[in-house]
């Protein structure tokens, strides 16, 4: 089986699993109990709400930076592989 077919089969199985484990059980139970709340910060007053939102946006920035870093690294590695092949052919 070609590699793309293997990859497609894996993606399909993972998709079915995610749907089956995340979406399907919520159809059986009440929504309120199934929602995972962010519990890393307590939110009660307005001041705390502002701190919470700031902290969340800071975490988002860290997240995007790390994901971006690895994506950039992947692109550079891909270029390196492509260049190596190109020079080998020459």
């Amino acid at each position: 089986m070609p590699n793309l077919k293997i990859f497609a089969a894996i993606v399909m199985c993972v998709f079915v699993l995610v749907i089956g484990l995340e979406w399907l059980p919520k159809q059986y139970t009440s929504q309120s109990s199934a929602v995972v709340m962010e519990q890393t910060l307590h939110v009660s007053t307005n001041e705390e709400k502002v701190i919470y939102e700031k902290e969340m946006s800071r975490r988002d920035v860290i997240g995007y930076s790390i994901v971006g870093y690895f994506l950039l690294l992947s692109v550079l590695l891909y270029i390196k592989i492509a260049l190596q092949r190109f020079t080998c052919k020459d």
């Binding site: 293997i6 910060l41 975490r59």
Partner: protein, 386 residues
């Protein structure tokens, strides 16, 4: 571009990604163990207050550890099924299969003990249910349960035992098994060192001059063999950290955000997703057959499936190591296995109803039967080929 993408086989790199993930789990685990308190009263608070709120970046380490375990088991199943698909358990590969299966069982233990540590409501009840399964061992079941728990129910003593298993015994066993599985010693001996008959180290140049061999030009270190797995790892890490930061709910259960309460049993108890197929297999036989209790049949089916997987090199009688798409009978067998496993995993998360029980019974019977019919199927296949 298209041709290059076609050459990129994800199954070849799952092992390398799992090693990277193992290191990530080890580092995050070390940071978590600095602040975790293995005490029944303080464990929940140490995780949800100290680590998640008070310690700098404690939330990040915990999320990496939790999402990491989910991804690790996902890759483990992909790796295992991939090896099964390509028949990498025959002819010289049996050693890797057996060591891999031992590694798989070690990962199961570390995954289970890790799930208990936060001492949330679901952790507590999952531990209670799973340890009580040992009662089905004929003869000494109840004594074994008491020995494992150290108490009549899951308590602080059980937690301390699981903590020791999780941070000392199992990581050491896993590292050791990874070295065996990857043939590290053999690789090190053949590439880095070579020894003469007296046990003394011989340098590469000496070895070559002794046998009049002209050494080949060394290949560049960053060849495709290194770069491709590295590319797979960086792509995986991008996806992994995306889930850590933006979809961490995949690794956490809502019920586990409340502290363990021994007097309040949840209506539906389930372990982490990677154990769900086993749980459903145990629950599926909801009726007694003659004198045999349904729960005993469930336990027996779990043993059959796990032992069947372990003994694949012996059960599969076809001597040729060829991929499943070149073996029509085995291909059908393989997909029946995958569908049964996925079906049982999904059913394990759903609350019990008549419909889920009957579907579960169907998948469980299929899964168990698969390991009984494989010897005949593979025999027939090899005869048909010859």
């Amino acid at each position: 571009m298209n041709a290059k993408l076609k050459n990129f086989n994800i199954l070849l790199y799952t092992g390398a990604i799992m090693v990277v993930l193992c290191l990530l789990m080890l580092v995050s685990g070390i940071f978590l163990s600095m602040h975790y308190i293995p005490d029944a009263e303080k464990a929940f608070e140490s995780v949800h207050t100290t680590i998640m709120q008070e310690v700098n970046y404690g939330w990040l380490w915990r999320k990496i550890h939790a999402v990491g375990s989910t991804f690790f088991f996902l890759l483990l199943y992909i790796h295992l099924l991939g090896m099964l698909y390509f028949g990498f358990y025959k002819h010289g590969k049996t050693k890797y299969w057996y060591s891999g299966m031992v590694l798989y069982f070690c990962c199961m233990v570390i995954g289970f003990t890790g799930y208990v540590l936060p001492m949330g409501q679901m952790s507590y009840w999952a531990a209670q249910v799973i340890t009580s399964l040992l009662e089905y061992i004929p003869g000494a079941g109840e004594d074994i349960v008491l020995w494992v728990r150290g108490d009549f129910s899951v308590s602080g003593i059980t937690l301390l035992r699981f903590y020791t298993l999780h941070i000392v015994v199992m990581p050491l066993s896993i590292v050791l098994m990874i070295l065996v599985h990857t043939d590290f010693v053999k690789w090190y001996a053949t590439t880095k060192l070579s020894w003469n008959r007296k046990g003394l180290h011989v340098s590469k140049e000496e070895r070559y001059s002794k046998h009049d061999i002209i050494p080949k030009e060394p290949k560049p270190f960053f060849s495709n063999a290194v770069l491709k797995p590295l590319l797979a790892c960086t792509l995986f890490l991008a996806l992994f950290f995306y889930c850590v930061f933006f979809h961490d709910y995949l690794a956490f259960d809502a019920l586990n955000f409340t502290p363990a309460n021994p007097s309040d049993t949840p209506s539906h108890i389930y372990p982490e997703w990677y154990f769900l197929w086993m749980l459903q297999l145990l629950k599926s036989f909801f009726f007694d057959i003659g004198m045999i209790k349904g729960s005993y049949i469930g336990m027996a089916s779990l043993v059959v499936v796990n032992v069947g997987l372990l003994l694949m090199p012996l059960i599969d009688r076809n001597p040729r190591r060829i991929p499943a798409h070149q073996r029509p009978y085995f291909l059908a067998w393989f997909w029946a296995l995958v569908i049964s496993l996925v079906g049982l995993t999904i059913l394990g998360k759903l609350p019990s109803s008549t419909l889920t029980l009957w579907i579960g019974l169907f998948f469980s019977t299929v899964l168990m039967a698969l390991f009984f019919i494989l010897p005949f199927l593979s025999n027939k296949e090899s005869h048909a080929k010859s």
